[in-house]
Amino acid sequence: MATTLYDAAIVGTGATGGMAAKVLAEKGMKTLLLESGPSISSADFLTHSMPYDFPFRGAGSPSKARRVGRPAASERTPFVGYHAENDQHPYSFPKGNPWAWSHSRILGGRTLHWGRQSLRLAEYDFKGASIDGYGVDWPFTYRDLEPYYDKAEEYVGVQGMTEGLPQIPDGKFLPPFAFNCYEHLMKKAARKMGWHLTALRTAQLSRAHRGRPACHYCGSCGSGCDVGAFFSTVAVTLPDALATGNLTLQTDSVVRHVLVDGEGRPKGVGYHDRLSKDYREAFAKVVVLAGSTLESTRIMLNSTSRQHPNGLANSSGVLGHYLTDHISVGNIEGALQDLVGGKILNEDGKSNGSYIPRFQNVDSKNRDFIRGYGIMVKGGAGSFPGHALDFDGFGAAYKRRIKALHPAMVNVYARGEPLPVYDSSVEIDKNLVDHWGIPALHIHYKRTENDEKIRKHAFDSMMELMHTAKVEILSARDSLSTPGTINHEMGTARMGHDPKTNVLNAYNQAHDAKNLFVVDASCWPSSGCQNPTLTMLAIAWRASDYLAEQFRKGEL
C-alpha cells in the first residue's frame, strides 16, 4: 500500500485548523486534515429541540454527568466529542489550584458551539509592553494584521455596529441585529456613566452571505446551527477546502506526536485510530498544528527526540509557559424596573447581547492596574427563568413574581485581560495517560495582582451601572472565574522575533523547525480582553498565506 506524502498535514479542525485547510488547499497544496474526533454535519444537530423532548430536559442524566462531565452529558448535543468526555480526556492540576478545561474533540471543534463573538484586537493590545512596560509586544502590528481582519470578517460574515472606537476597531460588518428593550435601557445607563454600549459583534449572518442562509433567529445556537448561519468549520471553511479537490479529511485520528527524521526535521505525525486505538503514521512535507492551544503544546511536549529533548521546537525552554485564560468577573443579575410586569416577547431569538468596550486605560492611565476589561450585557426573556432561584418564597405569589420579572432580566459580567507569567504553565503529567495511552497534561495556572485589581474595579463599575439603570439586583457574584472556565486558552507556544525566548516567529513558524507551523491561540504572547477567535482566524490566514508562499519557493 503506497503511503501518501502530503504537502501539508494539519492537526485539528477547529477555527484555525479549518482556516489553514481552506487557505492551503486553495493555494494548491495537497493537504491532509486530521481530526481526533468523529465526523458531524449541520444536518445532525437537534437545533430546534425543546427541553421536554428529553427525559432529563436536555441536561443529561446525573450518572452520565458524573462520568463524562455536565457538558458532555447534554441530551441536546449527544455527539461524541462535542464536549470532550472527562473519562477519555483526563488532565491534572495542583491541589487547590484548579483548571476547568472545557474543550471539544469532534469535527469542527468548538466552532460548533462557540459564543460567536468577533472583536478585533487593537494596536494597544499588540503593543502592550511598549505602552505600559509589561511582558512582550507581538511580533507584528495591528496594521500588519488589518488586511487579514478585513478578509476574515468579509469571509465569515460578522454582524455589528460601526462605532469609531479605537479600542475595538470597526470591521466589515453585516447589518446589526436590532436591540432588545433591555439593551436600549442599558445603553442609556451606560451613556450616563460616560461609556459606550454597542451590539456584540458576532459571526452570525443578518442576511444571506456568500451562499449561506441568513440566521432565522431560533435562539438555539448552543445546540448547533442546522443551517450554518453562524461561522463554524463544518458550515464554512471545510466545504470550501473540500471543493478544491486538494484536501483529504481524516476524522477519528488522535494525533500523539509529530514524527521527525534523523536530523530532527518534522516529517509527519503519529496517531491512533479513535475507535480501535491502532497506531498509524502519516507523512507530510510541512506539519501544521491547530489542535487548540493546550492540545498543540501537548503534542509538541510529547514529541521528544535527540534534537528536541525538551519537546519539539523548544530550544527556548518557553514551550508550555505563559498560559492565560480570560478572566471573568460576575455575573450580576437583576430586574430592570422599567420592564417588570411587561409582555413577554421573543428576545432570545438572536442569541446575542451587547458590549461595553474597555474604557479603562484608554483616555487616561488607571493608577491601579494596566490593560483592562470589557463588559458583556445580556438579558431578555429566554425559555428558563433562572432568576426564580434568586429570591425566597413559594406559592402563587412566588409564581407570579417569577413571571413578572421574566421580561425584565438583565445580567452583566466583565471579561478582563490576564497578564501572562512564565510560571503559569503546562507540562506532561508522567503518571497520567488518556484513553489512547497518550500522556496527559498537568496544568499549573498562575494569576497576578493585576487580575485582582481588575476584579474589584469591574465589579464596582458593574454595580454602579446596574444602579444607574434602575435594576433591582437579585444576585451578585464578585469572584473571579476558575481558570479555564472562559474557554479562551492563550499562550504556551508564544510567538516573537527572538528564538531564545519564543517558540514561533511572526508567521507562526517554529524557530527550530521551519516546516512546522502552529496556528492556534498557543502563539499569543499577550491576551487582550476581547474574545480571541476572530483574531485567531486572521492570524491563521496570514500564517497560511506565508506558509504557502514559502512552500512554493521551495524554502520549506
Binding site: 445532525d44 430546534h48 427525559p55 440566521c215 432565522h216 438555539s220 485510530d273 432570545d348 425559555s383
Partner: protein, 199 residues
C-alpha cells in the same frame, strides 16, 4: 419510609438511550442519534407511569409539595405539569448520598408536621401545609426548630422549578415563551419609548 435505590435497569437504559446510543457508531457514519429516539425514550408508554425511585406515598408527598411551591393559578401548576415524575427520574439516577439526603428531607417534613399538628403532612389541611412551608421559606427568619428543614426546602424548590419550567405547561402556558420560533426578520424592541436619541 426509606426505600433502597433499586433502579429498573430496563427503564434506565430506555431513558438514557438518547444519549448513550452514540458511543457505538463507527467512524464513517454521522455521530447523531435519531431525534425521535430521544423523545420516545422518555415518552409515556401504553402503561400508566410508575415511579422508579419513590414509594407511592413518597410520590404523593413530593407531588403535594411541588404543587404548593408552584400551584395552579391562572395556569396549571406543578401537579398538572407532572413535576413529580421528573423529580423521581432524576433522583433514581443520583448517588446514594443524594438520594438519602432527599428522603431524609421527606422524613423531616413528616416529623415536623407531627410535632406541630399531630398528623403526617399529607393529612394536614391546605392552610396548615402552607403554614409549615412558610416556616421554611424565609431564610432570614428561620426558627431554630425549623433550621434542619431549610436545605431540603431549597432543594425541592430547585427541583420543582427545574421540572416545571422545562415542561410544556411551564414554558408555553405560564411563561408564554415566544422563542425558538424561526423568524424572517429580527424586530427587536417594539417600544419607541425605550429607544435613545441616537439609537
Amino acid at each position: 419510609m426509606t426505600k433502597p435505590g433499586s433502579i429498573d435497569r430496563r427503564e434506565m437504559i430506555k431513558a438514557a438511550a438518547g444519549s448513550a446510543a452514540l458511543v457505538v457508531l463507527g467512524p464513517a457514519s454521522s455521530a447523531a442519534p435519531q431525534h425521535h429516539a430521544a423523545s420516545a425514550a422518555g415518552a409515556v408508554g401504553t402503561s400508566p407511569w410508575q415511579p422508579k425511585f419513590f414509594s407511592a406515598e413518597q410520590n404523593e408527598l413530593v407531588t403535594t409539595l411541588a404543587e404548593l411551591i408552584l400551584p395552579e393559578t391562572d395556569t396549571p401548576g406543578a401537579r398538572a405539569a407532572k413535576v413529580n415524575e421528573y423529580i423521581d427520574l432524576v433522583l433514581s439516577d443520583e448517588t446514594t448520598r443524594t438520594q438519602e439526603n432527599f428522603l431524609n428531607g421527606l422524613t423531616w417534613i413528616n416529623r415536623r408536621s407531627n410535632e406541630l399538628f399531630q398528623e403526617d403532612f399529607l393529612r394536614l389541611s391546605g392552610e396548615q401545609q402552607v403554614e409549615m412551608l412558610t416556616r421554611l421559606s424565609d431564610g432570614g427568619s428561620i426558627q431554630p426548630e425549623d433550621k434542619d428543614g431549610r436545605p431540603f426546602f431549597l432543594d425541592i424548590r430547585r427541583r420543582t422549578v427545574s421540572g416545571y419550567y422545562t415542561s410544556k405547561i411551564g414554558i408555553h402556558e405560564e411563561l408564554e415563551y415566544e422563542g425558538k420560533t424561526p423568524l424572517a426578520e429580527w424586530q427587536g424592541c417594539p417600544h419607541p419609548g425605550h429607544h435613545g436619541s441616537s439609537d
